[in-house]
Symmetry: C2
Subunit: 299 residues, 2 copies
């Protein structure tokens, strides 16, 4: 007779050894004595060997039982620790999350979220890959990242997007610029001043272009910067003004700048979580999204 051994079988065997009695082992295992007795018999039948030499008064391991003893101990321990380990992962207490994010998110939202998350999940590593909107989406599509933190992408069948917060566009000028005094400021202002643009592949540029279109003005970019730091320094140097979402301001790295809300149109850059549809998130990643949402809500 060939049965499929389970850790349960082995645990029962070990309980008999530990207690030195079928009845006591049955109590310990939460079974009736007949059930336990038959489980031992089933193992013995499967092995073709007795495990215990037993009478009503005596119970001893047979040589085969003695041989199985350490094996059973090892297997049960292995099983338990393996599933404990897995349970840690499922509980979100262990794992690795790869987050692809826009530089601005990396600079502002992510650090706070990671700090809050790691406080509760010290066993989870969070890896960051920063990049522009296109590369974030590619990382998600290609499976190189679990989560993307980016602007709303063009709708695509296998991408799922959930907005976390709206980052408002505003004018960025020198603090001593007269514009810094009036608020709010219409986008039309860029028709009268030098505009320092971001690089055409950036998500900010796509939105400023759209705003100009909506405001009905034609703006000729004076510079096209790949990095916000460059943009900030150009503005600080008095070479022109620009429009940036509020959260990107710290990335300009320049002092003496003012940010004032822009209207007509009032424009917000949606920042959110990008995932791949049909791909289950790890428990840790799901919980990280929740932390992100609460951090974004309190921002």
């Amino acid at each position: 007779m060939r049965i499929d051994f389970t850790p349960h079988h082995l645990a029962i065997f070990l309980a008999v050894i530990r207690t030195g009695s079928f009845s006591r082992a049955a109590v310990e295992c939460g079974l009736s004595q007949p059930a336990l007795s038959r489980t031992i018999q089933a193992i013995e039948d499967a092995l073709g060997q007795r495990l215990f030499d037993r009478t009503t008064r005596h119970l001893d391991l047979t040589p085969t039982g003695r041989e199985l003893h350490p094996i059973a101990e090892r297997l049960v321990t292995e099983f338990d620790s393996a599933f404990d380990e897995l349970a840690e992962f499922i509980a979100g207490r262990r794992g690795r999350i790869v987050v692809a994010a826009l530089p601005s998110v990396c600079a502002v939202l992510l650090p706070r979220a990671i700090a809050a998350f790691r406080a509760d999940h010290p066993g989870v590593d969070v890896l960051i890959r920063d990049g522009l909107a296109g590369s974030v989406a590619d990382a998600i599509t290609g499976g190189r990242a679990d989560l993307g933190l980016t602007v709303r992408p063009l709708p695509e069948a296998h991408l799922s997007y959930r907005t976390l917060l709206a980052d408002e566009f505003g004018l960025v000028c020198r603090a001593d610029d007269p514009l810094a005094g009036s608020t709010p400021i219409p986008w039309a202002v860029f028709g009268t001043r030098n505009f320092i643009a971001m690089h055409p592949t950036s998500s900010v540029r796509a939105m400023t272009d759209a705003a100009f279109l909506q405001a009905g003005i034609a703006v000729r970019p004076l510079y096209e910067c790949a990095f916000l730091g460059t943009t900030g320094n150009l503005v600080a140097a008095g070479l022109g003004i620009t429009a940036l979402p509020r959260l990107t301001l710290p990335l300009t790295g320049a002092g003496g700048l003012a940010w004032r809300p822009l209207v007509e149109p009032s424009l917000q850059r949606a920042l959110g979580v990008l995932t791949r549809v049909g791909r289950t998130l790890s428990p840790a990643a799901s919980q990280f999204v929740a932390v992100l949402a609460s951090v974004a809500a309190s921002a």
Copy 2:
């Protein structure tokens, strides 16, 4: 839902990974596709997590599945190798046998039996503890030896004895002794010559005393030797004659001795296997007994 995971569950999980398909995995596992599908679902329900992101066209591990993968591999391997190991033991190809035996058996029967046994069972170690009849029986009673090779002991409830061979008593004298010419020789001969006896605790002494009683003669031992080598040398020196079972002759260690069958009564010392009742022998030990029996039969 909490199920009892078995290596079978894990093997099915691994088969799906290996084949990249539920249907192919089902074939590989000798199951129907629905059965396999439900087994995976059962694991997923138990863990509260999907293991595969699957459509009819695509199958991918989820993070939890990826986490379980190496764990499952390890556990299945552990289980297999553990039971392979146990199977070796049960087949009698691995193990350790402790044999307690009389010196004469150690010298004559055991070496041949061990040689024959080890040729077929290179993985089994055979340990020998030699001692007189009493200590052999004690070793069995006390569980310090698996098998005893000794004379038939006094019947005792927990000892089981099985005769392997009958070792015939004969006269031992110098080869140039006139007695060496006549055969068979009656025990009464010891009434007319100096008798060199074995020590009172030895099994041989018990039998020679009984023979004298049966032959109706009174014999006064000249010496009482603990070792057969001493006895042999005393005989060789011409100090007397003695009676020994045939198989003990090589242990006398003396040259120039003759052995002639004794009659009136003709006496045989039974040599056999002593075991403890109610104590299962290891598979290797059982097989060793079989080898002993066949070696004894051909002796």
